[in-house]
Every structure is written in C-alpha cells, then in structure tokens.
Amino acid sequence: MDLTYTPEEEEFRARLREWLAEAIPALPPKPSPDDWPGRRAYDLGWQRTLYDAGYAGLHWPLDAGGRGATPVQHLIYLEESEKAGAPYVGANFVGLLHAGPTIAAEGTASQRARWLPPVLRGEEVWCQGFSEPDAGSDLAALRTRAWRDGDDYVVSGSKIWTSHAEVADWCELLVRTDPSAPRHRGISWLAMPMDAPGITVRPLRTLAGSAEFAEVFLDEVRIPVAHRVGAENDGWRVTMVTLSYERGTAFVGEVVACRRVLGELAHAARGNGRWDDPVLRRWLGRLNAEFRALWRLTQWNVSEAERTGGVPGVGGSVFKLRYSHARQELYDAAAEVLGPEALDLDREWTRDRLTSLSYTIAAGTSQIQRNIVAERILGLPKGR
C-alpha cells in the first residue's frame, strides 16, 4: 500500500505540468456546443498539439505509435490535464480510448499502420456503431446484416445513439455475419468509412437540446473484408476488449473534474449565503467523502492494472456504477446551491446536470453493470 509516486513519475508530472502551463493559454477560443464542425476542429487541434509534444496516445503500446506509458503515468496525465483545464478528449473519445486500443490489441500490422497514426495525429475521428434500436443492453441481439460479396461485405441495417456520427471518419461497427449461429457467435467487428455510399446519418436531439448523437442507416454499404478486425464471427470477443477499455480508463479525468466542481460549489454557496444551511453544507461534505473515495478507488484500480499488465478488469464496472450516480448527485447539489438559477439553461451547471443523466445509461446501464458485478465478480447464477 503505497501512494507515493516514484521520482521518475514525479519528474514526468513536473514536465507535463510545465508543458500544459504553456500549451493551454495558446489554445484558440472554445467553439459553441452546437457548432459541430467547430468542435471537431478544436478537439483535433488539441490532439495534434499533444502529438507534436509527444503526449499523444500515452497509454498506447510503443508498436502502435503510443508512448507505452504505464497505467500510473496515464493516471498522472489525466489528473494533470484536468487540473490544468486542458480540453476534454471530445470527438477523439472513441478513437483514443477504445477503438484505437482495440485495433492495437487485435488488429493486423497493416490495420494498425492504416488506422492508428491518424488517430494519434488528430486527423481522423471515430464513432461507435454498436447499439441498434432493438439491441441496446442486449447488444448480442443486433441485427445489422453483412453478406460476403467478393472482397467486400455488403451491410444493411441501422445503428442508434451513435455519438459524434456526424463528424466521424470511421465507425467501429458490429454486424451479424452468420445469422444461423448462436447469437454471440455470428458477429464481426468492422471498420466502416463514414463517407461510404449508402450511409445516412440522422442527428438525434438529446434532452440537453444539442445533437450529441445520431441514428445511422446503412443501405447496402460496401466495406472491404480487409477492414474486419479479428476473425469472422469472432466479433463478440473483440467487442469485450473494446468494452473493457471503454469502462476501464475512460472516466479517470472526470473524477478530477468533479472534485474541482465540488470545490467551486462550496465557494459559490459561501458567496450566496446557502452555506449557512447545515443540511446543504453536510451534503457537500458527504460528496467530498464520496469523490475522495472514488479517486482512491481509481488509484487502486490503476495500480492493480499496473501489476496485471495494463488490461482494465471488471473492477471498472464497480467504479462506473458508483461514479455515474455520484456525478448525478453532484449536480443535484449544484442545483440546490444555485436556487432558482438552476432552471436557467445558460448556467453551465444546469447543462451539466442534464448531461449527467446519461451516465447511468451510456456504456452499459447501471442495471447491466450490476448484473456484471453480480455474475462475474460475485459468481451469482445467470438469470433468465
């Protein structure tokens, strides 16, 4: 049990901090939340800046173009970036945090050479085409079909809730390549170019008012067989790799952000007199305990990953469950601090409160995460 960082880790932190202090003031102004092309350009620009400074894909393996950093270095990177107010990964989320690592782990040499460098250089954006209208929690029920036709798959069907679909260049797409096989056995993982003929993207408006995600219709879209990552009909296994990355490391920086917001809330409450309310004050105190513990759990999970070779385990589900609810409570507390102003959509905390509602749904709902914890960690029987 050791929470001190090694001299090398501290040096890494110090250099990073120094670099961030220079890089961040040089950033262009943030685009408005509805300006999608602007947001894409902004996010990719930051990725390019990271690349030029040698910080791109820190946690990716060396032979995938990354820095081969340890999980602890990655943790430091996420912590310091958030503290310094660096941009959120945004449009680079899927490419950097799970499609890229999946291709690095499961792709062929030429697939890695084709897809990984543009993600690191901030040239290409990926989206995730897993969910379908009738296959959300029950992902293995997906029906989007792919037929072999020469060197191509011909794909028809539809995907939904696809974040960043409007501005993506590539999509990690799950398709059914063998409809007669048992549900988990007939699936394949493909990289689909988003400009292929036959693709229609229909933006969906979220409850926060913006179009964060979209419905994607696929009408006989041709995708080269060479774009398949992993063996044909072995896509479910590849998908589990993707999901472990999605749940494993994706929320680390956000915990740091929540701790910052909590401090800001306390100061705001002091400023507007709400601090005198002992119930509210103690609620904020309890949230402080919660987020401190979540940060400790993050450190625990990261050092465990470091010992076991870097692959995030099901511990990510434990974290995601608690974090997603805590985040919602944080913004409920913010509304309590703001008072009537909490109903003003121009307040950042009001928008964040709305966005926080997605955390118990996206990347596997809380109910599904509880099933995972109960069945895979506690060994309880599968129910029907």
Partner: protein, 319 residues
C-alpha cells in the same frame, strides 16, 4: 505508486485471519453471545497480545512489532470480519502507554462518542485526550446495549439526550471533546471487515437458497442487492486503506463515512437476502448489524465528519 497490498501485508492479513478462524470461529461467537456480553475472554486477549495485535505499531525497541497504520488497519479489518468482541481499538492505542496493554495483560477501554464499551471488564479507561490519569468514566451509567456483544455505559453529559418535543438547543460536541482520528480509522477498518463479511454471507446464501425452482441469486432483485453491497465494500476499502497510508484527518473522515455506510447498509441488505431466517436470533446477521451500529458512534456524530469535510472544501484542500 503501488496502492496494492505488499507480499508482507498479504501474509499478515492471512496470518491474522487464520489466527482468528482458529481462536474465534462461529462456535466461539455463539458462546460469547450466550454469555450475554459478560466475561471478556482474557485468555484470548492475552493470545492476541502475544500475536502482536496490540503492539503492532509499537517500535521494536519497545518490544513491539514495529509496523505501521496500514498493517494495523488490515488486522482490524480481520477483527471486524469475525466480530471479535472487546475494546480492541482502545487497548491497541494504549499499547506503550498503559502497562500491560501491549501484551494483552491489561484491558483498556476508552470514552468514544460519549460511550464506554466493556467498562466493567476493563482495567483502565482512556479519555478523549488519550490520558488514563483521571477517571474518564466517572459517573458513567450502564445502558442496555443493543449489541449483545458490547456492554455500554453512557458518560454523563457525553451526548445530549433530548426528551421528545423538547426544542431546546443542544451542544453538538459534548464534554468528551473531538473524536480521536486514529480510533476512528481503526473503527472504520472494523466496519470494512464487517461489510465484506456480510457481503460474502449474502452471496453465499443467494447461491444456495432456492425458491421458484432456482437459487434466489438468479433473481435480479437479489443479485442487484448483492452487487450494490460489493460496490460499497470496494469503495470503502479504497478509502480506508488510503486513509491508513496518509493518516490525513480528511481522508479519515471520508473513510469513516463510507465504511459506516458499507457496514450498516451491508448488514441490512444481508438480512434482507436471508429473509425470515435473517430476522432470527439464531442467524448471525443481526450481530453484524448491531455491532456496526455501535461502531458508528465511536467517531462522534456523522454530521461532525460531514462538517469537517465541508470545511475542507472551502479551505481549498479538497481540490
């Protein structure tokens, strides 16, 4: 940073677990219940002393084991798992100060949160300042303890008791003063062990008890109760271990809130999973819930910890 147990820490934990399994198994627990919280097992107390339970953090030069807070926390977690009775925390903290405490010859209790545990069975009483010089428990009156394994005395003026309907203001911190962070941390470790054990017991029962032709653990309503128990345990574990490493008062306050929550809610959920059996005296579940309740009072009212952590936010240290 390697925030995992070292080989030595694992060995220590396993050693304490084996010792307690041999010396305070389910039968010993039932026998202690049958004694009704009278007659602390002095032989066991001395055996714990010999094993270094009380002298764990005492320097080797002073005849101790020379280990640190993280190791003590692991040992107390194990004590919490088996509901080991007695003023373990107070005696541990008195080692090196009160003659015979380190070896388990002397049983030392303390005033925590306005209450004294095992007063009649103890040889010395520590007050809030850690001193055994005065009579910290002068005028203490017995109460009928909710926990059959923890006799309790209330210290006069220790904690205000409001008659129903009386709106007169009461002082939040009684004459017992602020709570001792180390006692709070070791108590949190016991709560963690308590929570981990009830989670295991619930899972075990859910795997074997059948209704409607299948194990009840296959039903999501039960499965999700168990999953939530584990989530609370794991979060509390991270908080308690971190507080043991840093010994920071804020980390300790946070660990306390999460560990209390994991222990109390875990025991309740465990009882629920056991159904009618859980509501009987024969099942051990109520013992875990009652002890968890007793321990929640040791660090003073939970609101004190919350206030501390709230102040930390405006002090800026929480960022």
């Amino acid at each position: 940073m390697d925030f995992q147990l070292t080989e030595d820490q694992r060995a220590l934990r396993d050693g304490v677990r084996a010792l307690l399994a041999g010396r305070f198994g389910p039968e010993a627990l039932r026998a202690a219940v049958a004694r009704g919280g009278r007659g602390l097992d002095r032989t066991l107390w001395r055996e714990l002393g010999e094993a270094g339970f009380f002298s764990l953090r005492l320097p080797e030069a002073d005849g101790g084991v020379g280990l640190g807070l993280p190791e003590a926390v692991l040992a107390f977690e194990e004590a919490g798992r088996v509901l080991l009775p007695g003023p373990l925390v107070a005696t541990h903290l008195a080692a090196g100060e009160v003659a015979g405490a380190a070896t388990g010859e002397t049983v030392v209790t303390a005033v925590y949160g306005g209450l004294v545990e095992w007063l009649d069975e103890s040889d010395a009483v520590r007050d809030a300042a850690g001193s055994t010089a005065g009579d910290g428990a002068a005028g203490a009156v017995p109460l009928t303890s909710v926990d059959p394994l923890t006799p309790l005395h209330r210290v006069p003026g220790g904690l205000p008791v409001d008659p129903p309907g009386d709106a007169s203001p009461t002082s939040p911190a009684g004459p017992t003063g602020p709570s001792d962070p180390l006692a709070t941390l070791l108590t949190s470790a016991e709560q963690l062990g308590n929570a981990a054990r009830t989670c295991e017991a619930a899972v075990q029962h859910a795997r074997t008890r059948e209704q409607f032709g299948q194990p009840i653990g296959a039903f999501q309503a039960v499965k999700h109760l168990c999953a939530q128990m584990l989530v609370r345990v794991e979060l509390a574990r991270a908080a308690v271990y971190a507080a043991a490493v840093t010994a920071d008062p804020m980390d300790i306050a946070a660990a306390r809130l999460l560990a209390d929550d994991a222990a109390v809610r875990g025991a309740r959920d465990c009882l629920q999973v056991h159904g009618g059996m859980g509501f009987t005296w024969e099942s051990d579940v109520h013992l875990y819930l009652k002890r968890a309740w007793v321990r929640t009072r040791r660090g003073g009212p939970a609101t004190e910890s919350e206030e501390l952590l709230a102040d930390d936010l405006v002090a800026g240290a929480g960022r």
